[in-house]
């Protein structure tokens, strides 16, 4: 993880100098990997950044990216990449999926991939069919979040845990849903009543959201609201918005946090001491995998699914709080992972 942090820093400074960064080429056989980013920028502490970091780590490709300031930039950015002769064009984020599919159908010789979406071609009636040169990169994030939820339920002294999102996107709510199911599994196994605030499995339309990914003051107020209800473990699924809460909670000692996307212990400047764990989603790994396929001429349109098994999703180490987690709970969380991998545990059945 430390290495990836350095790479992020290197990437950021390189980006500053060149505008569009190009990784140094060492071998002639490298493919041209091009990332069309979603709005939010390459430094969003979230999926854009994760994708770009992974693309740079790929040893079989020369990577470049184009940022988007609005959804109007998606189509021209993809067109630019087509004209540049990219062999693999990755749309980062489900929002860009439709434009990727459109371009893919017009350019059947280029390989495409979409992060966080299946990359299907859908008509007006939502009849969808796969496209031969588009690969979806999706994640079973809820499996890892399920582990985190179970852990949170086991750690909570107040018997109340909480989660909230930035906006109600499927990529956000999947974390919240898995988390709540993990708590439910603890309740089922231990005959306990740990309550989840901010998300209700049986009513996925409701739930607590900031409404955007920029209003840190509001996110902080929401976190305090959870603490006033007695929640002592909170999982914000809101990109960088949770950082103010983590810093405040490190001082007040009222609650622990579960971070998402990439290990909060390394990403937070203040508040890392109260990060219980992180629900990690390795977007970078998925990009490396599809780049390797294209380089080896083994590209197919079968979806890549990040799972606990292929380490596309995972929960991070407990770091400083490792001594606070009981050994029995640690092994139970580990057993859940193995059960899910073996197929003995289907989290969608837990309610």
């Amino acid at each position: 993880m430390k290495k990836s942090l350095k790479l992020i820093a290197a990437a950021a400074s390189l980006t500053l100098i060149t505008g569009v960064a190009v990784a140094p080429s060492a071998q002639a056989a490298k493919i041209k990997l091009c990332l069309a980013l979603d709005t939010g920028g390459v430094d969003d502490h979230s999926f854009n950044q994760g994708a770009w970091t992974g693309a740079q780590e790929s040893r079989v490709s020369n990577a470049e990216y184009l940022p988007a300031s609005s959804s109007a930039d998606f189509a021209p950015n993809i067109k630019t990449f087509v004209d540049k002769g990219c062999q693999l064009i990755v749309g980062v984020g489900f929002a860009i999926s439709a434009e990727i599919v459109k371009s893919a159908k017009a350019n059947p010789k280029i390989s495409y991939a979409v992060v966080d979406d299946a990359g299907l071609d859908c008509d007006a009636n939502w009849n969808c069919s796969p496209v031969s040169n588009v690969k979806g990169l999706t994640f079973k994030t809820d499996d890892a979040a399920f582990q985190a939820g179970y852990l949170a339920a086991g750690m909570s002294k107040t018997k109340k845990v909480a989660t909230y999102g930035g906006m109600a996107f499927p990529t956000v709510t999947i974390f919240m849903d898995g988390f709540a199911r993990g708590v439910a599994y603890w309740n089922q196994n231990k005959k306990k009543q740990v309550e989840v605030l901010g998300w209700d499995i049986s009513n996925p339309d409701a739930g607590t959201f900031v409404g955007n990914f920029s209003d840190q003051n509001k996110a902080l107020t929401i976190s305090k609201g959870f603490e006033q209800q007695g929640a002592d473990i909170i999982m914000p699924v809101a990109g960088n918005l949770g950082s103010a809460y983590a810093a405040a909670s490190e001082k007040s000692k009222k609650s622990l946090t579960i971070w998402v996307d990439s290990d909060g212990f390394y990403n937070l400047t203040a508040g890392k001491d109260i990060v219980l764990t992180t629900v990690v989603k390795e977007i970078g790994a998925s990009i490396k995998s599809v780049a390797a396929d294209v380089a080896a001429k083994k590209f197919t349109n079968d979806s890549y699914v990040g799972t606990l098994k292929n380490k596309g999703v995972s929960i991070a180490p407990y770091h400083k709080l490792a001594s606070k987690v009981r050994g029995k709970l640690k092994s139970e969380v580990l057993r859940i992972k193995n059960d899910i991998i073996k197929g003995n545990l289907d989290i969608s059945t837990i309610k």
Binding site: A168, L197, D200, Q216, Q228, A248
Partner: protein, 420 residues
């Protein structure tokens, strides 16, 4: 004159009528049709204030009945008061309170509502709105439209965050922020007053400029060098002795950071200055009738320029609240539209300091109520809940305010002996 009074009377009758209907409806819907036998718990204790009552537990149905009965009684007395030509403000407020509490008791059946926490959160969400609307107020009362409040807040949030990070002292952040706010004001004043640029367009352009500039610097400096450039210490909360111990009011009003106390001082100061000083009289004059002000020897444009700069200083303190007052680091576009809601608060408050303060508090309350309700888990879709504060804004501005009148010369550049 009689025509205006009629419209005011009409509005008052309509208002009392709506309150009465709502009171009756809340009695029937929240009280009588409430089959839930669950209890609603209200919490009053937040910190270590004196405790009169820690919690108040009441059956959801009977609690709703009690509050809506209160609302009905208050509505009746409002009608009686109106007939006898007595002010209806107090009974109308009681009725509104009753309807609201009846709703809250109903919706929170089986749940816990931390009442003090709800109000404290509302105040904290309102702080930047208050500063923003005060900035708008000073500009517009002097006849310059200020759409650039968002830009002022964002720029000063950025500068205070960076300065506090570099000096490791939050006080330097608080000192630097008003300067940044005034710098944005300088841009506004120069183009609006010196070059008579259309002020609405100008304000928007300034906002876009500040967003672009802060995003660029955020990416260039704050992300790669986060530990030196973007770790601002925040102000500790100062507990005012005795006052902070008062139940409910204490933790809300008197256990806050210095930025919130500055807000009380600034709102009181502006109210006094605007209505009781020479500066205030002149400010109102150049906003209402600049030609007349000019003929008695006031340099209109010079005064406008100065006032726009003062407005920037005020907005700057509000910007500092985001970083050194609350969050502790700068985030991309972290003001998230507060400047525009502040503008709505200014109009809702009819361009008066107390009115704008009340409006800002109302918006902060609607915002926090929305998140509190989702936190306790009401089964209303989240997208709808997120609209609530904005719906409240629209209803407030269009429905409740009635006719508002902007300062007569608002937005009109003053050209001596010219077209205006």
């Amino acid at each position: 004159m009689s025509e205006i009074r009629t419209s005011v009377e009409k509005r008052r009758i309509r208002g009392i009528g709506v309150l009465s209907i709502f009171s009756a409806a809340s009695f029937i819907y929240f009280g009588l049709l409430n089959s839930a036998s669950e209890k609603t718990t209200f919490g009053f204790v937040l910190d270590n204030e004196w405790v009169i009552m820690k919690e108040w537990v009441i059956s959801s149905a009977s609690g709703s009945r009690i509050f809506s009965t209160l609302a009905i009684l208050a509505s009746i007395s409002a009608i009686l008061a109106y007939r006898k030509k007595i002010a209806v403000t107090i009974p109308a407020s009681v009725a509104t309170f009753g309807i609201f509490m009846s709703f809250l008791t109903w919706i929170a059946a089986g749940k816990f509502i931390p009442l003090t926490g709800l109000l404290q959160g509302a105040l904290l969400l309102a702080v930047p709105l208050v500063f923003g609307s005060m900035s708008g107020l000073i500009c517009e009362r002097s006849g310059v439209i200020n759409i650039a409040i968002e830009g002022q807040l964002l720029a000063s949030a950025f500068v205070s965050g960076v300065v506090a990070s570099l000096t490791h002292k939050s006080i330097w952040g608080l000192i630097a922020a008003p300067i940044a706010g005034a710098a944005i004001s300088f841009l506004l004043a120069t183009f609006a007053i010196k070059f008579s640029v259309d002020q609405v367009i100008l304000g928007f352009v300034i906002n876009v400029l500040v967003i672009g500039l802060t995003n660029f610097l955020y990416k260039k400096l704050l992300i790669p060098y986060q530990s030196t450039w973007n770790t601002a210490p925040t102000f500790e909360h100062i507990k005012i002795p005795i006052l902070s111990k008062i139940p409910i009011i204490g933790p809300i009003l008197f256990s806050q950071s210095i930025v919130v106390y500055l807000m009380y001082v600034i709102v009181a100061g502006i109210t006094f200055a605007l209505y009781k000083t020479k500066w205030g009289l002149r400010t109102r004059a150049i906003g209402e009738h600049p030609t007349a002000a000019d003929t008695v020897g006031i340099d209109v444009n010079r005064m406008r320029f100065k006032n726009v700069l003062i407005a920037g200083l005020v907005a700057g303190v509000g910007g500092a609240y985001f970083t050194v007052g609350s969050v502790g680091s700068f985030g991309k576009e972290m003001t998230a539209g507060a400047g525009f809601i502040a503008l709505a608060a200014l109009i809702f408050g009819k361009w008066s300091p107390i009115g704008a303060l009340m409006a800002a508090l109302l918006f902060g309350f609607a915002d926090n109520l929305q998140s509190t309700l989702t936190i306790i888990g009401v089964s209303i879709p989240s997208e709808f809940m997120l609209m609530v504060p904005y719906i409240a804004t629209i209803i407030a501005v269009t429905g409740l305010v009635g006719r508002v009148r902007a300062p007569a010369a608002d937005g009109i550049p003053y050209l001596r002996g010219g077209a205006h």
